[in-house]
Symmetry: C2
Subunit: 312 residues, 2 copies
Amino acid sequence: MDTFPDRLIAAIDRKEYPTAVGIDPQLDLMPPALVKRYFDQYGQTHTAGALAVRDFTLRLLDAITPHVPAVKLQAAFFEALGPPGMQVFADMLLEARQRGLVVIADVKRGDIDSTAQAYATAYLGNTVQDGNLAAGFEADAVTVNAYLGMDGILPFLEAAKAHNKGLFIVLRTSNPSAGDLQDLSIDGTPLYERLAALVQRWGEGTEGRTPYHIVGAVVGATYPAEAARLRGLMPRTFFLVPGYGAQGAGAEDVRACFNPDGYGALVSSSRAIIYAYRREPYRALGEENFAQAATAAARAMQQELAAVLRPS
Amino acid sequence: MDTFPDRLIAAIDRKEYPTAVGIDPQLDLMPPALVKRYFDQYGQTHTAGALAVRDFTLRLLDAITPHVPAVKLQAAFFEALGPPGMQVFADMLLEARQRGLVVIADVKRGDIDSTAQAYATAYLGNTVQDGNLAAGFEADAVTVNAYLGMDGILPFLEAAKAHNKGLFIVLRTSNPSAGDLQDLSIDGTPLYERLAALVQRWGEGTEGRTPYHIVGAVVGATYPAEAARLRGLMPRTFFLVPGYGAQGAGAEDVRACFNPDGYGALVSSSRAIIYAYRREPYRALGEENFAQAATAAARAMQQELAAVLRPS
């Protein structure tokens, strides 16, 4: 059976570009008329917000599915809407999977032992001997935090092996204070490179038809020199590269995340795509055509990437 | 208005002991007859599991409320039961707060910018200008992961200030692989001590009637020498100390987490309390009296702590 990286690469080949759309549904950035409709009907409630997010996300999925191989759903924006938001989170993960998209649950969970196992059960599937409940929020892959070490990773790795899923460990982020911990020098090596060696090791032996491990890494897009170095340190680790567009990174910045084989990275853009209707040159489409604007922005991002990855 | 540490200390004074019961509801450890009743009625569903967890948790809350100042609810076990589990998580956070317990949502979330803000909104309350939705899963305090640095902490700190809440940053865990990252040496100082300096700084200026900061730290219970050193490095930081009992730590091990004023730590025990009915000397009570066993185990833990903290 194909591993998660095998399936991801097949999806990338089908859609021609290694890109994901990040679904970060924020009520204050979504089309005001769409949001207002639900709040008018259901009052100032989590249900109103969750239904607005559902409508917004479904229309985005319909529009982008023919064009991108993967989506990354950000749990936090669903969680902020309480239990109704989490119901919509589960529903949207399923809707995206049913459309054939590769679906990443961006949850950055991190704990140990039975607690980490419970999180792995929630997103990847059960590994308890007598556990026969389905995953509560099933995705193809999940993002994980490694501050607690291997004990926090192993339950996810076991669930990924058992259910043919993947994980991406938060390795290097591109926010201004990323360096507070990640840049600290261990005998001349930054902490995130030490973690890179662990991530590489944790993934060993999980290759499939393709040489990539089921343990990937989240690598922020804005430091090309670092990305190049990490790419060399962990050649068989798939990178999930968020922050394209809105966080300031462009095609040149992410080139170093790819291997010579043209694979090894999935570039994700969230706000620059799903809120494209708010900016030029898409504004003229009108807020009611936000999904069309998102599709156009996703295709523009793909063209930018192609110019760098496959120069003619 | 009293800060979170002020309220926590008042609750500790009322109940006489600095202890929390950790609610980690695992179906395979809960009383089999209780679990079976719901699965017989609702089939092999998340709803059945969530209703069993609800029943179990409510009976625990009823039993322990007169005896302990605080509870820590572990999100992972509710998340594993999908949307019905998250509904019960929200309900149980509210039930515990309505009983006057200090309620910690153990979620260990960690992300940046608007994403971290969404998580803070979910657990502590909204800080967005036009945000007027309630917290989806309101607690008195939340656990947070700091691998992404200050950018990931600031939204929680702002929400805690705005809504009179607290946070505990995961600093030092006591699992076998905790050292994978936490022990790495930065010019002779372990990483977790570097984080300790940041946690101390992030909390400065948030003192209330008591000298404690609203930014606390999660400090595992099994390394007394480390706890003593951390206690000295961050005297105004409240420690949340999990792992008492089941993870092998006893009263002598946690003594160093306290300040000379007798405060500064909240010792939490999960499995050793809520599953006490499975072990001696509580087994004879029978599984139907699990809540009574939990109460007896909580009181025994408090006596052990008192002997060390207030030697006669």
